[in-house]
Protein backbone atom coordinates (compact mmCIF):
# COMPACT_ATOMS: atom_id res chain seq x y z
CA UNK A 1 0.00 0.00 0.00
CA UNK A 2 2.61 2.50 1.09
CA UNK A 3 5.09 2.28 -1.81
CA UNK A 4 2.15 2.67 -4.17
CA UNK A 5 0.99 5.78 -2.34
CA UNK A 6 4.46 7.28 -2.49
CA UNK A 7 4.83 6.45 -6.19
CA UNK A 8 1.45 8.01 -6.88
CA UNK A 9 2.52 11.18 -5.08
CA UNK A 10 5.80 11.33 -7.03
CA UNK A 11 3.99 10.88 -10.34
CA UNK A 12 1.55 13.66 -9.45
CA UNK A 13 4.45 16.09 -8.97
CA UNK A 14 5.70 15.62 -12.53
CA UNK A 15 2.93 17.50 -14.38
CA UNK A 16 3.22 20.31 -11.82
CA UNK A 17 6.96 20.61 -12.46
CA UNK A 18 6.32 20.68 -16.21
CA UNK A 19 3.65 23.34 -15.70
CA UNK A 20 6.13 25.44 -13.73
CA UNK A 21 8.60 25.21 -16.62
CA UNK A 22 5.91 26.28 -19.12
CA UNK A 23 4.97 29.25 -16.92
CA UNK A 24 8.65 30.19 -16.62
CA UNK A 25 8.92 29.99 -20.40
CA UNK A 26 6.01 32.37 -20.89
CA UNK A 27 7.30 34.83 -18.28
CA UNK A 28 9.60 36.47 -20.85
CA UNK A 29 6.54 37.13 -22.97
CA UNK A 30 4.90 38.98 -20.07
CA UNK A 31 7.35 41.84 -20.50
CA UNK A 32 5.66 44.92 -21.90
CA UNK A 33 7.35 45.05 -25.29
CA UNK A 34 10.21 43.21 -26.93
CA UNK A 35 12.24 41.33 -24.29
CA UNK A 36 15.50 41.82 -26.15
CA UNK A 37 15.08 45.57 -26.45
CA UNK A 38 14.18 45.80 -22.75
CA UNK A 39 17.11 43.66 -21.69
CA UNK A 40 19.63 45.52 -23.83
CA UNK A 41 18.33 48.83 -22.51
CA UNK A 42 18.31 52.20 -24.21
CA UNK A 43 21.98 52.06 -25.13
CA UNK A 44 22.62 52.42 -28.81
CA UNK A 45 22.38 48.88 -30.00
CA UNK A 46 22.16 48.26 -33.71
CA UNK A 47 19.27 46.45 -35.32
CA UNK A 48 21.71 43.69 -36.24
CA UNK A 49 22.66 43.17 -32.59
CA UNK A 50 19.01 42.96 -31.59
CA UNK A 51 18.33 40.45 -34.34
CA UNK A 52 21.35 38.39 -33.29
CA UNK A 53 20.12 38.31 -29.70
CA UNK A 54 16.56 37.48 -30.74
CA UNK A 55 18.04 34.63 -32.69
CA UNK A 56 20.11 33.50 -29.73
CA UNK A 57 17.02 33.43 -27.50
CA UNK A 58 15.02 31.81 -30.32
CA UNK A 59 12.56 34.71 -30.17
CA UNK A 60 12.50 34.81 -33.98
CA UNK A 61 10.98 31.33 -34.06
CA UNK A 62 7.29 30.40 -33.84
CA UNK A 63 6.04 30.01 -30.25
CA UNK A 64 5.71 26.21 -30.39
CA UNK A 65 9.28 25.86 -31.69
CA UNK A 66 10.47 28.18 -28.93
CA UNK A 67 8.77 26.00 -26.34
CA UNK A 68 10.28 22.82 -27.81
CA UNK A 69 13.76 24.40 -27.89
CA UNK A 70 13.30 25.60 -24.28
CA UNK A 71 12.50 22.10 -23.07
CA UNK A 72 15.30 20.65 -25.18
CA UNK A 73 17.79 22.96 -23.45
CA UNK A 74 16.30 22.17 -20.05
CA UNK A 75 16.76 18.46 -20.64
CA UNK A 76 20.47 19.16 -21.14
CA UNK A 77 20.65 21.22 -17.96
CA UNK A 78 21.10 24.37 -20.03
CA UNK A 79 19.35 27.32 -18.41
CA UNK A 80 20.49 29.88 -20.93
CA UNK A 81 23.17 32.58 -20.83
CA UNK A 82 23.14 35.70 -18.71
CA UNK A 83 22.90 38.78 -20.89
CA UNK A 84 24.74 40.98 -18.40
CA UNK A 85 27.51 38.61 -17.34
CA UNK A 86 27.70 36.58 -20.57
CA UNK A 87 28.06 33.39 -18.51
CA UNK A 88 25.88 30.27 -18.35
CA UNK A 89 23.05 30.81 -15.87
CA UNK A 90 23.54 27.29 -14.52
CA UNK A 91 27.10 28.20 -13.44
CA UNK A 92 25.90 31.39 -11.73
CA UNK A 93 23.22 29.47 -9.88
CA UNK A 94 25.63 26.73 -8.87
CA UNK A 95 27.97 29.37 -7.41
CA UNK A 96 25.21 31.04 -5.41
CA UNK A 97 23.43 27.93 -4.20
CA UNK A 98 25.81 26.82 -1.38
CA UNK A 99 25.49 30.22 0.36
CA UNK A 100 21.70 29.99 0.24
CA UNK A 101 21.65 26.42 1.52
CA UNK A 102 24.04 27.32 4.33
CA UNK A 103 21.90 30.28 5.38
CA UNK A 104 18.67 28.28 5.24
CA UNK A 105 20.18 25.41 7.23
CA UNK A 106 21.48 27.83 9.89
CA UNK A 107 18.04 29.48 10.05
CA UNK A 108 16.37 26.10 10.46
CA UNK A 109 18.74 25.13 13.28
CA UNK A 110 18.13 28.43 15.09
CA UNK A 111 14.35 28.18 14.60
CA UNK A 112 14.22 24.62 15.94
CA UNK A 113 16.47 25.49 18.91
CA UNK A 114 14.16 28.37 19.81
CA UNK A 115 10.78 26.92 18.94
CA UNK A 116 10.83 23.41 20.38
CA UNK A 117 11.86 24.28 23.95
CA UNK A 118 9.52 27.29 24.01
CA UNK A 119 6.57 25.37 22.57
CA UNK A 120 7.27 22.57 25.02
CA UNK A 121 7.47 24.85 28.06
CA UNK A 122 4.29 26.66 27.16
CA UNK A 123 2.39 23.40 26.58
CA UNK A 124 3.55 21.87 29.86
CA UNK A 125 2.19 24.86 31.76
CA UNK A 126 -0.76 26.13 29.73
CA UNK A 127 -2.11 29.57 30.70
CA UNK A 128 0.94 30.26 32.89
CA UNK A 129 2.96 33.45 32.43
CA UNK A 130 5.50 31.60 30.29
CA UNK A 131 2.69 30.35 28.04
CA UNK A 132 1.38 33.89 27.66
CA UNK A 133 4.83 35.25 26.86
CA UNK A 134 5.47 32.51 24.28
CA UNK A 135 2.08 32.98 22.64
CA UNK A 136 2.31 36.75 22.42
CA UNK A 137 5.94 36.68 21.25
CA UNK A 138 5.07 34.19 18.56
CA UNK A 139 2.17 36.34 17.38
CA UNK A 140 4.56 39.30 17.31
CA UNK A 141 7.09 37.24 15.36
CA UNK A 142 4.50 36.12 12.85
CA UNK A 143 3.31 39.71 12.30
CA UNK A 144 6.79 41.12 11.83
CA UNK A 145 8.24 41.96 8.43
CA UNK A 146 11.50 39.96 8.27
CA UNK A 147 13.50 42.65 6.51
CA UNK A 148 12.66 45.14 9.23
CA UNK A 149 13.67 42.73 11.97
CA UNK A 150 16.98 42.26 10.15
CA UNK A 151 17.55 46.02 10.14
CA UNK A 152 16.74 46.20 13.87
CA UNK A 153 19.34 43.49 14.53
CA UNK A 154 21.87 45.49 12.51
CA UNK A 155 21.01 48.60 14.53
CA UNK A 156 21.57 46.80 17.81
CA UNK A 157 24.47 44.46 17.07
CA UNK A 158 26.37 46.38 14.42
CA UNK A 159 25.60 50.06 15.02
CA UNK A 160 25.24 50.23 18.82
CA UNK A 161 27.42 47.39 20.06
CA UNK A 162 29.60 46.90 16.96
CA UNK A 163 29.95 43.17 17.64
CA UNK A 164 28.63 41.60 14.42
CA UNK A 165 29.35 42.24 10.74
CA UNK A 166 26.48 43.53 8.59
CA UNK A 167 27.18 42.00 5.21
CA UNK A 168 28.78 39.16 3.31
CA UNK A 169 29.62 35.60 4.25
CA UNK A 170 33.16 35.97 5.61
CA UNK A 171 35.73 38.72 6.24
CA UNK A 172 37.42 39.73 3.01
CA UNK A 173 40.83 39.57 4.70
CA UNK A 174 40.50 35.87 5.53
CA UNK A 175 41.73 33.40 2.94
CA UNK A 176 39.66 30.24 2.73
CA UNK A 177 40.51 27.38 0.44
CA UNK A 178 37.30 26.39 -1.36
CA UNK A 179 36.52 22.66 -1.23
CA UNK A 180 32.76 22.22 -1.23
CA UNK A 181 31.72 25.85 -1.70
CA UNK A 182 30.03 25.88 1.70
CA UNK A 183 31.97 28.41 3.80
CA UNK A 184 31.34 26.81 7.20
CA UNK A 185 31.98 23.28 5.94
CA UNK A 186 35.14 24.35 4.11
CA UNK A 187 36.57 26.11 7.15
CA UNK A 188 36.00 22.99 9.25
CA UNK A 189 37.52 20.66 6.63
CA UNK A 190 40.60 22.84 6.21
CA UNK A 191 40.95 23.33 10.02
CA UNK A 192 40.74 27.08 9.53
CA UNK A 193 39.62 28.39 12.94
CA UNK A 194 39.74 32.06 12.00
CA UNK A 195 37.56 31.45 8.95
CA UNK A 196 35.06 29.40 10.93
CA UNK A 197 34.75 32.11 13.58
CA UNK A 198 34.28 34.76 10.92
CA UNK A 199 31.75 32.67 9.00
CA UNK A 200 29.70 31.94 12.11
CA UNK A 201 29.69 35.61 13.09
CA UNK A 202 28.52 36.51 9.58
CA UNK A 203 25.73 33.94 9.43
CA UNK A 204 24.28 34.70 12.87
CA UNK A 205 22.18 37.79 12.12
CA UNK A 206 20.83 36.72 8.71
CA UNK A 207 19.96 33.26 10.07
CA UNK A 208 18.24 34.77 13.10
CA UNK A 209 16.25 37.09 10.82
CA UNK A 210 15.21 34.27 8.52
CA UNK A 211 14.56 31.88 11.39
CA UNK A 212 12.50 34.24 13.56
CA UNK A 213 9.23 34.07 11.66
CA UNK A 214 9.68 30.36 11.16
CA UNK A 215 10.33 29.89 14.88
CA UNK A 216 7.15 31.81 15.70
CA UNK A 217 4.98 29.51 13.60
CA UNK A 218 6.80 26.40 14.74
CA UNK A 219 6.52 27.24 18.46
CA UNK A 220 2.76 27.59 18.11
CA UNK A 221 2.49 24.25 16.35
CA UNK A 222 4.68 22.46 18.90
CA UNK A 223 2.55 23.97 21.65
CA UNK A 224 -0.79 22.93 20.23
CA UNK A 225 0.34 19.43 19.22
CA UNK A 226 1.99 18.96 22.63
CA UNK A 227 -1.23 20.01 24.37
CA UNK A 228 -3.02 17.51 22.21
CA UNK A 229 -0.54 14.72 23.01
CA UNK A 230 -0.52 15.45 26.74
CA UNK A 231 -4.24 14.72 26.86
CA UNK A 232 -3.85 11.27 25.29
CA UNK A 233 -4.35 8.03 27.17
CA UNK A 234 -0.79 6.81 26.69
CA UNK A 235 0.36 9.82 28.72
CA UNK A 236 -2.04 8.93 31.53
CA UNK A 237 -0.86 5.32 31.31
CA UNK A 238 2.79 6.36 31.50
CA UNK A 239 2.07 8.55 34.51
CA UNK A 240 0.13 5.74 36.20
CA UNK A 241 3.10 3.44 35.65
CA UNK A 242 5.15 5.90 37.66
CA UNK A 243 7.27 7.25 34.82
CA UNK A 244 8.89 10.54 35.79
CA UNK A 245 7.19 13.66 34.46
CA UNK A 246 10.24 14.64 32.39
CA UNK A 247 10.25 11.23 30.73
CA UNK A 248 6.50 11.48 30.10
CA UNK A 249 6.90 14.85 28.43
CA UNK A 250 10.02 14.10 26.41
CA UNK A 251 9.75 10.41 25.59
CA UNK A 252 6.01 9.93 25.29
CA UNK A 253 4.35 13.21 24.41
CA UNK A 254 7.07 15.08 22.49
CA UNK A 255 7.83 12.23 20.14
CA UNK A 256 4.23 12.07 19.04
CA UNK A 257 3.83 15.82 18.95
CA UNK A 258 6.72 16.20 16.54
CA UNK A 259 4.85 14.60 13.63
CA UNK A 260 2.49 17.56 13.08
CA UNK A 261 5.40 19.90 13.79
CA UNK A 262 7.37 18.32 10.94
CA UNK A 263 4.41 18.81 8.62
CA UNK A 264 4.11 22.48 9.51
CA UNK A 265 7.85 22.85 9.07
CA UNK A 266 7.47 21.40 5.58
CA UNK A 267 4.63 23.74 4.73
CA UNK A 268 6.78 26.67 5.80
CA UNK A 269 9.57 25.85 3.36
CA UNK A 270 7.99 28.21 0.85
CA UNK A 271 8.14 31.05 3.35
CA UNK A 272 11.79 30.24 4.04
CA UNK A 273 12.64 30.26 0.33
CA UNK A 274 10.84 33.58 -0.16
CA UNK A 275 12.37 35.00 3.00
CA UNK A 276 15.80 34.14 1.62
CA UNK A 277 15.43 36.76 -1.10
CA UNK A 278 14.68 39.47 1.44
CA UNK A 279 17.29 38.46 4.01
CA UNK A 280 20.03 38.02 1.42
CA UNK A 281 19.27 41.50 0.14
CA UNK A 282 19.37 43.03 3.64
CA UNK A 283 22.66 41.36 4.57
CA UNK A 284 24.27 41.32 1.09
CA UNK A 285 24.49 37.54 1.38
CA UNK A 286 25.95 36.15 -1.86
CA UNK A 287 23.21 33.59 -2.49
CA UNK A 288 20.47 32.79 -4.95
CA UNK A 289 18.04 35.40 -3.60
CA UNK A 290 20.47 38.23 -4.11
CA UNK A 291 21.31 36.86 -7.54
CA UNK A 292 17.64 37.12 -8.51
CA UNK A 293 17.12 40.58 -7.03
CA UNK A 294 20.26 41.91 -8.71
CA UNK A 295 19.19 40.28 -11.98
CA UNK A 296 15.80 41.99 -11.77
CA UNK A 297 17.47 45.40 -11.55
CA UNK A 298 19.98 44.56 -14.26
CA UNK A 299 17.02 43.46 -16.44
CA UNK A 300 18.78 40.11 -16.82
CA UNK A 301 15.53 38.24 -17.31
CA UNK A 302 17.06 34.94 -18.39
CA UNK A 303 18.58 34.65 -14.90
CA UNK A 304 15.30 35.60 -13.21
CA UNK A 305 13.40 33.05 -15.29
CA UNK A 306 15.79 30.21 -14.47
CA UNK A 307 16.12 31.02 -10.76
CA UNK A 308 12.37 31.32 -10.19
CA UNK A 309 11.89 28.02 -11.95
CA UNK A 310 14.52 26.49 -9.67
CA UNK A 311 12.84 27.92 -6.57
CA UNK A 312 9.48 26.47 -7.62
CA UNK A 313 10.93 23.05 -8.41
CA UNK A 314 12.73 23.03 -5.03
CA UNK A 315 9.47 23.91 -3.34
CA UNK A 316 7.58 21.15 -5.15
CA UNK A 317 10.33 18.70 -4.21
CA UNK A 318 10.28 19.84 -0.57
CA UNK A 319 6.52 19.37 -0.38
CA UNK A 320 6.93 15.95 -1.91
CA UNK A 321 9.53 15.00 0.70
CA UNK A 322 7.25 16.20 3.52
CA UNK A 323 4.33 14.21 2.12
CA UNK A 324 6.40 11.08 1.81
CA UNK A 325 7.94 11.58 5.26
CA UNK A 326 4.46 11.97 6.66
CA UNK A 327 3.30 8.75 5.04
CA UNK A 328 6.27 6.95 6.54
CA UNK A 329 6.04 8.60 9.97
CA UNK A 330 2.33 8.33 10.61
CA UNK A 331 1.08 4.74 10.75
CA UNK A 332 -2.51 5.93 11.08
CA UNK A 333 -2.48 7.34 7.59
CA UNK A 334 -2.68 3.84 6.18
CA UNK A 335 -5.90 3.13 7.99
CA UNK A 336 -7.67 6.15 6.58
Amino acid sequence: MRPLRILQRVLLAIPVALGVAVLAFFSLHLLPGDPVQIMLGDTNTSAAQIRAMQHELHLDQPLTTQLALFFGQLAHGNLGTSIVQQRPVSTMIAEALPATIELTAAALVIAVLIAIPLGLLSAVKPRSWIDRVVLSTSLLGASMPAFWFGLLLILVFAVDFRVLPTSGQIDATIALQPVTGFTIVDSIITHNGAALWSALRHVLMPALTLGAVFAAVLARTVRSSMLDAMGKQYVTTARAKGVSETAVVVKHALRNALIPAVTVAGLQVGELLGGNMIVETVFSWPGLGRLVVNAIFAKDYVVVQAAVMLYAITYVAANLVVDVAYTVLDPQLELR
Binding site: G19, S143, M144, P145, L155, G270, L273, F297, Y301, V308
Partner: protein, 297 residues
Protein backbone atom coordinates in the same frame (compact mmCIF):
# COMPACT_ATOMS: atom_id res chain seq x y z
CA UNK B 1 -43.53 29.71 -9.23
CA UNK B 2 -44.45 26.32 -7.91
CA UNK B 3 -46.80 25.73 -5.02
CA UNK B 4 -43.90 24.71 -2.82
CA UNK B 5 -41.99 27.87 -3.69
CA UNK B 6 -45.06 29.85 -2.67
CA UNK B 7 -45.34 27.89 0.56
CA UNK B 8 -41.69 28.30 1.42
CA UNK B 9 -40.79 31.81 0.28
CA UNK B 10 -37.21 32.87 -0.07
CA UNK B 11 -35.92 33.89 3.31
CA UNK B 12 -33.73 36.88 3.62
CA UNK B 13 -30.59 36.43 5.61
CA UNK B 14 -30.39 39.98 6.86
CA UNK B 15 -31.29 38.96 10.39
CA UNK B 16 -28.56 36.37 10.53
CA UNK B 17 -25.98 38.83 9.17
CA UNK B 18 -27.05 41.41 11.73
CA UNK B 19 -26.72 38.79 14.43
CA UNK B 20 -23.13 38.06 13.33
CA UNK B 21 -22.18 41.73 13.33
CA UNK B 22 -23.76 42.25 16.76
CA UNK B 23 -22.07 39.24 18.24
CA UNK B 24 -18.78 40.31 16.69
CA UNK B 25 -18.82 43.87 18.01
CA UNK B 26 -20.01 42.72 21.42
CA UNK B 27 -17.35 39.99 21.49
CA UNK B 28 -14.57 42.34 20.42
CA UNK B 29 -15.62 44.83 23.06
CA UNK B 30 -15.84 42.22 25.79
CA UNK B 31 -12.13 41.50 25.89
CA UNK B 32 -9.50 44.21 26.43
CA UNK B 33 -6.91 42.91 23.94
CA UNK B 34 -9.49 42.50 21.18
CA UNK B 35 -10.93 45.92 21.90
CA UNK B 36 -7.51 47.58 21.87
CA UNK B 37 -6.59 45.83 18.61
CA UNK B 38 -9.85 46.90 17.00
CA UNK B 39 -9.31 50.48 18.16
CA UNK B 40 -5.77 50.48 16.72
CA UNK B 41 -7.12 49.36 13.36
CA UNK B 42 -9.76 52.11 13.46
CA UNK B 43 -7.10 54.73 14.26
CA UNK B 44 -5.02 53.60 11.26
CA UNK B 45 -8.03 53.73 8.96
CA UNK B 46 -8.87 57.24 10.18
CA UNK B 47 -5.24 58.33 9.74
CA UNK B 48 -5.25 56.96 6.19
CA UNK B 49 -8.49 58.72 5.28
CA UNK B 50 -7.57 62.01 6.94
CA UNK B 51 -3.85 61.91 6.03
CA UNK B 52 -3.76 65.45 4.52
CA UNK B 53 -5.36 66.83 7.71
CA UNK B 54 -3.29 64.83 10.20
CA UNK B 55 0.15 64.91 8.60
CA UNK B 56 2.14 67.98 9.69
CA UNK B 57 4.00 68.23 6.34
CA UNK B 58 3.43 67.28 2.71
CA UNK B 59 4.89 63.76 2.28
CA UNK B 60 7.03 64.81 -0.68
CA UNK B 61 8.11 68.20 0.70
CA UNK B 62 11.91 68.17 0.82
CA UNK B 63 13.89 70.38 3.18
CA UNK B 64 17.55 69.95 2.30
CA UNK B 65 18.59 72.24 5.17
CA UNK B 66 17.34 69.66 7.70
CA UNK B 67 18.38 66.40 6.09
CA UNK B 68 18.49 63.39 8.43
CA UNK B 69 17.38 65.58 11.34
CA UNK B 70 16.84 63.49 14.49
CA UNK B 71 13.41 63.42 16.16
CA UNK B 72 12.55 66.88 17.50
CA UNK B 73 9.55 69.05 18.20
CA UNK B 74 9.42 70.19 14.57
CA UNK B 75 9.82 66.64 13.21
CA UNK B 76 8.54 64.14 15.77
CA UNK B 77 10.11 61.18 13.99
CA UNK B 78 12.95 63.05 12.30
CA UNK B 79 13.57 63.50 8.57
CA UNK B 80 15.00 61.27 5.86
CA UNK B 81 17.98 61.76 3.54
CA UNK B 82 16.03 64.31 1.45
CA UNK B 83 14.76 66.18 4.50
CA UNK B 84 11.25 64.77 4.17
CA UNK B 85 9.24 64.43 7.40
CA UNK B 86 9.19 60.76 8.45
CA UNK B 87 5.96 61.08 10.44
CA UNK B 88 4.06 62.61 7.52
CA UNK B 89 5.36 59.99 5.11
CA UNK B 90 4.46 57.22 7.56
CA UNK B 91 0.91 58.58 7.86
CA UNK B 92 0.56 58.71 4.07
CA UNK B 93 2.10 55.24 3.84
CA UNK B 94 -0.89 53.91 5.78
CA UNK B 95 -2.98 54.58 2.68
CA UNK B 96 -0.91 52.34 0.42
CA UNK B 97 -0.72 49.51 2.94
CA UNK B 98 -4.43 49.49 3.70
CA UNK B 99 -5.48 49.98 0.08
CA UNK B 100 -3.23 47.25 -1.28
CA UNK B 101 -4.18 44.90 1.55
CA UNK B 102 -7.92 45.47 1.33
CA UNK B 103 -8.09 45.45 -2.48
CA UNK B 104 -5.99 42.30 -2.71
CA UNK B 105 -8.03 40.51 -0.07
CA UNK B 106 -11.21 41.74 -1.74
CA UNK B 107 -10.28 40.46 -5.19
CA UNK B 108 -8.79 37.22 -3.87
CA UNK B 109 -11.82 36.50 -1.67
CA UNK B 110 -14.39 37.32 -4.34
CA UNK B 111 -12.70 35.35 -7.12
CA UNK B 112 -11.61 32.43 -4.94
CA UNK B 113 -14.95 32.03 -3.18
CA UNK B 114 -16.94 32.27 -6.40
CA UNK B 115 -14.78 29.74 -8.25
CA UNK B 116 -14.63 27.42 -5.25
CA UNK B 117 -18.41 27.42 -4.85
CA UNK B 118 -18.96 26.88 -8.56
CA UNK B 119 -16.41 24.07 -8.63
CA UNK B 120 -17.95 22.29 -5.66
CA UNK B 121 -21.52 22.75 -6.84
CA UNK B 122 -21.19 21.84 -10.49
CA UNK B 123 -18.08 19.59 -10.29
CA UNK B 124 -16.97 18.40 -13.74
CA UNK B 125 -14.88 20.61 -16.02
CA UNK B 126 -15.04 23.78 -13.87
CA UNK B 127 -13.73 21.83 -10.89
CA UNK B 128 -11.01 20.15 -12.93
CA UNK B 129 -9.65 23.40 -14.39
CA UNK B 130 -9.69 25.03 -10.96
CA UNK B 131 -7.86 22.12 -9.34
CA UNK B 132 -5.09 22.13 -11.98
CA UNK B 133 -4.64 25.91 -11.75
CA UNK B 134 -4.39 25.68 -7.97
CA UNK B 135 -1.80 22.91 -8.17
CA UNK B 136 0.32 24.92 -10.57
CA UNK B 137 0.16 28.15 -8.56
CA UNK B 138 0.90 26.28 -5.35
CA UNK B 139 4.20 25.20 -6.81
CA UNK B 140 5.51 28.74 -6.27
CA UNK B 141 6.38 30.15 -2.87
CA UNK B 142 4.19 33.27 -2.52
CA UNK B 143 6.85 35.93 -2.23
CA UNK B 144 8.87 34.46 -5.08
CA UNK B 145 5.80 34.31 -7.32
CA UNK B 146 5.00 37.94 -6.55
CA UNK B 147 8.60 39.08 -7.04
CA UNK B 148 8.80 37.28 -10.38
CA UNK B 149 5.48 38.73 -11.54
CA UNK B 150 6.56 42.22 -10.55
CA UNK B 151 9.96 41.74 -12.19
CA UNK B 152 8.25 41.12 -15.50
CA UNK B 153 5.30 43.53 -15.09
CA UNK B 154 7.33 46.41 -13.56
CA UNK B 155 6.53 48.40 -10.39
CA UNK B 156 3.03 49.87 -10.08
CA UNK B 157 0.07 50.06 -7.74
CA UNK B 158 -2.32 47.92 -9.78
CA UNK B 159 0.43 45.61 -11.05
CA UNK B 160 1.21 44.87 -7.41
CA UNK B 161 -2.40 44.11 -6.53
CA UNK B 162 -2.80 41.81 -9.53
CA UNK B 163 0.48 40.06 -8.78
CA UNK B 164 -0.63 39.41 -5.20
CA UNK B 165 -4.24 38.49 -6.02
CA UNK B 166 -3.24 36.18 -8.87
CA UNK B 167 -1.98 33.71 -6.29
CA UNK B 168 -3.99 34.93 -3.31
CA UNK B 169 -7.33 33.59 -4.54
CA UNK B 170 -6.35 29.93 -4.31
CA UNK B 171 -6.62 29.79 -0.54
CA UNK B 172 -10.19 31.09 -0.70
CA UNK B 173 -10.94 28.75 -3.58
CA UNK B 174 -9.89 25.73 -1.53
CA UNK B 175 -11.72 26.95 1.54
CA UNK B 176 -14.96 27.77 -0.29
CA UNK B 177 -14.81 24.55 -2.27
CA UNK B 178 -14.45 22.40 0.81
CA UNK B 179 -17.11 24.29 2.75
CA UNK B 180 -19.53 24.23 -0.18
CA UNK B 181 -19.02 20.49 -0.67
CA UNK B 182 -20.04 19.89 2.93
CA UNK B 183 -23.03 22.27 2.70
CA UNK B 184 -24.33 20.83 -0.58
CA UNK B 185 -24.60 17.42 1.08
CA UNK B 186 -27.00 18.77 3.72
CA UNK B 187 -30.76 18.50 3.71
CA UNK B 188 -31.54 22.18 3.34
CA UNK B 189 -29.76 22.33 0.00
CA UNK B 190 -31.43 19.12 -1.10
CA UNK B 191 -34.77 20.60 -0.08
CA UNK B 192 -34.13 23.79 -2.02
CA UNK B 193 -33.21 21.71 -5.06
CA UNK B 194 -36.35 19.58 -4.69
CA UNK B 195 -38.51 22.66 -4.49
CA UNK B 196 -36.92 23.74 -7.74
CA UNK B 197 -35.01 26.84 -6.84
CA UNK B 198 -32.40 27.82 -9.43
CA UNK B 199 -28.75 26.93 -8.75
CA UNK B 200 -27.74 30.59 -8.68
CA UNK B 201 -30.23 31.24 -5.91
CA UNK B 202 -29.20 28.18 -3.92
CA UNK B 203 -25.55 29.21 -4.11
CA UNK B 204 -26.05 32.87 -3.27
CA UNK B 205 -28.82 32.69 -0.70
CA UNK B 206 -28.46 29.25 0.84
CA UNK B 207 -24.80 28.22 0.63
CA UNK B 208 -23.00 31.58 0.72
CA UNK B 209 -24.49 32.81 4.03
CA UNK B 210 -23.46 29.52 5.61
CA UNK B 211 -19.83 29.70 4.52
CA UNK B 212 -19.47 33.48 4.83
CA UNK B 213 -18.23 33.48 8.43
CA UNK B 214 -15.37 31.10 7.72
CA UNK B 215 -14.39 33.05 4.60
CA UNK B 216 -14.49 36.37 6.47
CA UNK B 217 -12.24 35.07 9.23
CA UNK B 218 -9.65 33.77 6.79
CA UNK B 219 -9.82 37.02 4.80
CA UNK B 220 -9.08 39.00 7.96
CA UNK B 221 -6.18 36.72 8.87
CA UNK B 222 -4.77 37.08 5.33
CA UNK B 223 -5.04 40.87 5.28
CA UNK B 224 -1.97 41.38 7.45
CA UNK B 225 0.00 38.86 5.41
CA UNK B 226 -0.75 40.74 2.17
CA UNK B 227 0.39 43.98 3.80
CA UNK B 228 3.71 42.42 4.82
CA UNK B 229 4.09 41.06 1.27
CA UNK B 230 3.42 44.51 -0.19
CA UNK B 231 6.01 46.04 2.12
CA UNK B 232 8.51 43.30 1.25
CA UNK B 233 8.08 43.93 -2.48
CA UNK B 234 8.32 47.71 -2.06
CA UNK B 235 11.40 47.17 0.12
CA UNK B 236 13.04 45.23 -2.72
CA UNK B 237 12.04 48.02 -5.13
CA UNK B 238 9.62 45.96 -7.20
CA UNK B 239 6.38 47.04 -5.52
CA UNK B 240 4.96 50.51 -5.17
CA UNK B 241 6.78 53.06 -7.37
CA UNK B 242 9.02 55.46 -5.39
CA UNK B 243 6.78 58.46 -6.12
CA UNK B 244 4.14 57.13 -3.68
CA UNK B 245 5.14 57.04 0.01
CA UNK B 246 5.00 53.40 1.14
CA UNK B 247 6.38 51.79 4.29
CA UNK B 248 8.41 49.16 2.46
CA UNK B 249 10.28 51.67 0.29
CA UNK B 250 10.74 54.01 3.27
CA UNK B 251 12.42 51.19 5.20
CA UNK B 252 14.58 50.56 2.16
CA UNK B 253 15.56 54.27 1.99
CA UNK B 254 16.48 54.15 5.65
CA UNK B 255 18.70 51.16 5.12
CA UNK B 256 21.31 53.31 3.38
CA UNK B 257 21.49 55.73 6.32
CA UNK B 258 21.03 53.14 9.07
CA UNK B 259 24.36 53.97 10.71
CA UNK B 260 23.58 57.67 11.07
CA UNK B 261 19.78 57.88 11.27
CA UNK B 262 18.00 54.95 12.92
CA UNK B 263 14.59 56.58 12.74
CA UNK B 264 14.18 56.52 8.96
CA UNK B 265 13.77 52.70 8.80
CA UNK B 266 12.53 52.03 12.30
CA UNK B 267 9.41 54.22 12.33
CA UNK B 268 7.64 52.93 9.19
CA UNK B 269 8.52 49.35 10.17
CA UNK B 270 7.04 49.87 13.62
CA UNK B 271 3.90 51.34 12.02
CA UNK B 272 3.56 48.23 9.85
CA UNK B 273 4.25 45.84 12.75
CA UNK B 274 1.62 47.44 15.00
CA UNK B 275 -1.02 47.47 12.25
CA UNK B 276 -0.40 43.87 11.19
CA UNK B 277 -0.35 42.73 14.81
CA UNK B 278 -3.65 44.51 15.51
CA UNK B 279 -5.24 43.02 12.38
CA UNK B 280 -4.05 39.53 13.32
CA UNK B 281 -5.38 39.93 16.87
CA UNK B 282 -8.76 41.08 15.55
CA UNK B 283 -8.69 38.16 13.10
CA UNK B 284 -7.97 35.61 15.84
CA UNK B 285 -10.70 37.08 17.98
CA UNK B 286 -13.11 36.92 15.03
CA UNK B 287 -12.17 33.30 14.55
CA UNK B 288 -13.06 32.52 18.15
CA UNK B 289 -16.34 34.40 17.91
CA UNK B 290 -17.57 33.45 14.46
CA UNK B 291 -16.11 30.08 13.72
CA UNK B 292 -15.79 27.74 16.69
CA UNK B 293 -14.62 24.92 14.42
CA UNK B 294 -11.45 26.77 13.48
CA UNK B 295 -10.52 27.52 17.07
CA UNK B 296 -6.94 26.58 17.95
CA UNK B 297 -6.30 24.35 20.94
Amino acid sequence: MSVLQALYPIQRHGIRALYSVNRLSAGLGAEPVGLLAALVVVVYVLAAVAAPLVAPYHPAATDLASRLAPPSRAHWFGTDALGRDVLSRTIYGTRVSLLVGVLTVGIATAVGTALGMLGAYFRGAVDMVGARLVELLQAFPYLIFAIAMMAFLGPGFWNLIWALALKGWIEFYRLARGETLSQVAREYVEAARAIGYPSSWILLSEVLPNIMNTVTVVAMLRLGYFMVLEASLSFLGVGIPPSIPAWGSMISDGRNVLFVAWWVSTIPGLALLVLVLAINLVGERMRELLDPRLRVA
